[in-house]
Amino acid sequence: MSNTSAHITASCIIRGNTVVKNGVRVYEAPPDVTLPEFLRGLYDRYSGQYPKFHKMDLLSKLGWAAAEILLQEVPMEHYAPEDTGVILANTSSSLDTDERYAETMKEIASPALFVYTLPNIVIGEISIRHTFKGENAFFVADAFDIPFITGYVQQLLNEGTLQAAVCGWVEQYHSGYDAALYLVEKKPRNGSLPFTANEAEKLYR
């Protein structure tokens, strides 16, 4: 099957209290900054004006912040809502919030925590923020299988199901986390890279 030409038009890697956008380090917090503090810092720096952020669990905050940074100064208005999809994966599912919610079950179970006990809620949060109504999927796997995710997204572009995708890895469990989001589009933008597993891998490393 011949592949539709596609490009990585933006990337955002968040790990070790550092944000790398399009291969350039753009934000760094000291190592003693905790994950909740770090994510709040990202919100203050890159967003504000979205109080729903504070209600999200850490997995959603991480994915939401990564998407916020990824899409900053990247106009997406020319796409119809159903043209853009979100395809994500991780290894710990929503386990961190599952545990927090289970704690509340001892007294009064928390509805606000329960709604985050599914990993795909982070896709919902990103979709709500950016009005993406295209196909979305969340895979639970042992590790970030880059050829798998790029292959899957390539097929969605080939089929014409999507014109653009936010895809990648959003993993968080307790203080450990790792996020890598890519914006993939059929049309290139300034500085875009070919959409291949190899290029995605280089950005991730």
């Binding site: 099957m1 809502p81 159903e82 999809g85 979100v86 290894t91 710990s92 599912s93 386990l95 599952d98 545990e99 919610y101 289970a102 079950m105 001892k106 179970a109 928390s110 509805p111 329960f114 709604v115 985050y116 006990t117 599914l118 990993p119 795909n120 809620i121 982070v122 896709i123 919902g124 949060e125 979709s127 709500i128 009005t131 993406f132 109504k133 295209g134 196909e135 979305n136 999927a137 969340f138 895979f139 639970v140 796997a141 042992d142 899957y152 097929q155 089929e159 199901t161 469990y173």
Partner: protein, 396 residues
Amino acid sequence: MSEQVWIAGGDVICGTGLNLAACLDAFEKMQPGMGAMQHLRSAHANTFPVAEVKAGNDELAAMAGMPAHWSRTALLSMIAAQAAWNSTGLGAVSNYRVGLVSANTVGGMDKTEHFMETYLQDTATGRLREVVHHECGSITELVADALGVRHHVSTISTACSSGANALMYGARMIRAGMLDAVIAGGTDALTRFTLNGFNTLMILDQQKCRPFDDTRTGLNLGEGAGYVVLVSDRLAEQTTAWCRLSGFANANDAYHQTASSPEGTGNFIAMQGALNMAGVQPADIGYINLHGTGTQNNDSSEGLAIVRLFNGHYPPVSSTKSFTGHTLGASGGIEAVFSAYALRHGIIYPNAQFTTPMKELPFAPVTTFSRGNALRHVMSNSFGFGGNCSSLVFSE
């Protein structure tokens, strides 16, 4: 490469019956599977009816031919997936390139809860992460190993539409020529975790649920597993396929973490996308297996999206959740089996507990079981938290 994706067979286990044949019997006799809890221990045992699989873990382990220390989620998965494969008559799994794509949302939570009881008394005794993680991540792997599936294994977790999404994913792998057959569907066991969670959302009915009924007050939780076997054109020639999976689509409602948009935008886009891929008009659909959970919000949004899309040409519709309860990650798989089998045999399933049409809808669900209907295309809807909306179309 395969032009078409065929349903070569399938099977289920759920609160309505231990296999598809038993479920059909229950549909015909109008016997929903909900009742008081027998296996799950919960403070809400006498408050909320649930549709439990009518067998204890030891019995399920014997049916599955697997050890009883497996989580209930894995045992249910094994039983339905094995039966689904057997129904195709294709023989040994090892003769083909076979994948298992399975959805679940609770993983091995039932075992974890058991572990937690002792853990909470002495937190030095257990390693919580290992237990949860091991059980959660391994359901699909365990079952794949036991079935002898070696070519591809994936776990999908997109809430209540996960099972339908497993079929979409499997169909793509067959179309791309990567696999000959995919056992696709989902599994979930009842747990206190989900029961308490849905209770906090105040969307559990204290009576049997009443999907698409004006008097509905919520859903009943159920459990089970359901898998179809998707095969390529080449393999379809070796078996008597039920039908084709001709169309599918997924969309995000982009409205709220748990609630559907009032007008069901995501539902509409998913149904429309599935029709487009199948190349059929709304009027060609002979039956819709609704998502139909019985919550105020879902049924109203789904109903209004159907009104907008079908625009006067309303086919017979029903929610089999009025028999099985809402089996969460399994529901898309279970209902895909019901829908594909319905198409093959001209069956329309009834909607149990129905009395009062919804004021905002010009149509009402079917309330009697019937065979011999001329069905050319059947639609199955699955919508989940996180705004994840999926629709499948099966065609003769």
